[in-house]
């Protein structure tokens, strides 16, 4: 009998570990990657990528997690898409995001740091234009709403990072168009 109980206990352990890690899928209507860059030393211009997909896994007890974000480079939107040969077309071209050759920008986490129950920073690798470099996202807010009625648990937040675009080979227009780019991932994700 003891042997049977021990066997059940061993079989249940991995399940218990899996149950602690929760997976959330980004809601595309509330998940965007924004960026801002200095323009001719005058202003900070903003733009965003409209199509972002990805998943977050969180183990709040173990204070670990993973995040994967995939950004559709061609979905860039700087508010100038209403005319042919717009600024967005230039940004999609080989001069900047080279969306035809590199259709996706990805971020994959390598380490989560927690402050209490919420992640405070996420280290990971940003792959852009065929170059992958480590980037740290500072998590400025992270909150979860408990499930309500038929709605599952939903988490969301903002995370920010600064990169130098020249590190990824995107050198056109420097210094007129700034080298330093601030990225902000704004996300909401539903528990699977």
């Amino acid at each position: 009998m003891k042997r049977i109980l021990a066997a059940f206990a061993c079989a249940a352990l991995p399940g218990a570990a899996l149950a602690a890690a929760e997976t959330f899928t980004f809601d595309p209507l509330h998940t965007f990657t924004y960026f801002t860059v200095e323009h001719f030393g005058l202003s900070n211009q903003f733009g965003r990528f409209n199509r972002n997909t990805g998943k977050v896994t969180l183990d709040r007890a173990a204070k670990t997690g993973t995040i994967e974000v995939t950004i559709d480079a061609a979905s860039i939107d700087t508010g100038d898409s209403g005319r042919t040969r717009s600024r967005d077309d230039v940004l999609r071209s080989g001069d900047f995001f080279n969306a035809a050759e590199f259709p996706r920008v990805t971020f994959k986490s390598t380490r989560f740091a927690f402050n209490g129950d919420a992640p405070s920073s996420i280290e990971g690798d940003l792959a852009l234009l065929g170059t992958t470099r480590p980037v740290t996202l500072a998590v400025e807010r992270f909150r979860c709403n408990p499930p309500q009625g038929t709605r599952k648990e939903r988490c969301g937040g903002n995370a920010t990072a600064r990169i130098k675009r020249s590190d990824y080979g995107m050198k056109y227009g420097i210094p007129s168009i700034g080298d330093e780019v601030t990225l902000m991932i704004v996300f909401e994700a539903d528990k699977d």
Partner: protein, 286 residues
């Protein structure tokens, strides 16, 4: 923003002055000055422009970086063949004439290789059609320009017209980088024209000069189609520049007049692809 950061300086002034200096020095250098090697100045101007605008690197090997690599290799091959031809016996002319078509075919293969990362994203017949289309365009353009390789003034004029046409079509298709690259080739070719006209010496373009003009311009135009917004039908229209210039032969003019007439003709012919790119952009450059 310093003067060197201005696109007009990077794309036009620097390539022109650098090519002018290199071509003038090489043209005055003994036996080498009688070979087409001075046309390496066109590539030097383009490389300087690229270095100033975006830097030169080869990892990761993107399509844009492959263009630089292909142009470098083509130039080295061109120099080697032109120097070998200079040393070869006089009765071996037919052998060198037969190199036109092999070089054009190799240029075509190089074009397909350059854009392989984009061809791979297409499937089956679409990928094959794209690869063949790129290869045929690059091979045709190289063959057309190589036909005038014995005539330095004609090749220089074609370089000015083709460079300007490729650059303007690129900017009308949302690529400022290929605008600067095209204009850099045009400026370099213009510098070679100036050295010939002002220095009163004929510098045949050979394979060095004709490949230095035809191949990069073909790749810039193809890049404008695949990496920016240029409609594909501008590619065959760009061939009008070298093809049309071959029909004009103002022999009775002195070098200055001949160069002016041929440059005028190429710029008029350049309006054909530019008009197509402009129409596609509805006259709305970025």
């Amino acid at each position: 923003m310093s003067g060197l950061d201005h696109p007009a300086v990077q794309g036009g002034v620097v390539p022109l002055l650098l090519a002018l200096a290199i071509a003038a020095i090489m043209a005055a250098t003994g036996r080498v000055g009688r070979t087409p090697v001075a046309w390496v100045a066109v590539v030097a101007g383009y490389l300087a422009s690229t270095w100033l605008a975006a830097g030169i690197a080869f990892t990761p090997l993107t399509a844009g970086r492959k263009i630089v690599l292909v142009v470098l290799v083509a130039t080295i091959v061109g120099i080697a063949v032109d120097l070998a031809r200079d040393l070869a016996p006089a009765d071996s002319t037919a052998v060198w004439r037969r190199l036109d078509i092999p070089f054009a075919l190799i240029a075509g293969v190089a074009a397909a290789w350059t854009f392989l990362s984009i061809i791979r994203q297409r499937e089956g017949a679409q990928a094959a059609g794209l690869a063949i289309g790129l290869a045929v365009h690059a091979a045709t353009q190289c063959w057309l320009v190589m036909r005038s390789r014995h005539d330095g003034i004609r090749t220089g004029a074609i370089g000015v017209g083709l460079g300007v046409a490729t650059g303007v079509c690129a900017v009308l298709s949302a690529s400022v980088g290929f605008l600067m690259a095209g204009v850099a080739i045009g400026a370099g070719a213009g510098a070679l024209l100036l050295v010939q006209v002002l220095g009163r010496r004929h510098l045949p373009a050979g394979y060095t000069g004709s490949l230095a003009i035809a191949l990069p311009c073909a790749l810039f135009a193809q890049g404008s189609v695949l990496l920016a917004e240029m409609p594909w039908y501008v590619l065959p229209l760009l061939l009008v520049v070298p093809a049309g210039t071959a029909l004009v032969d103002p022999k009775r003019f002195r070098p200055m007049g001949r160069a002016s007439v041929l440059v005028g003709v190429t710029l008029v012919l350049a309006l054909v692809p530019i008009a197509a790119a402009w129409y596609a952009a509805r006259g709305s450059p970025p």
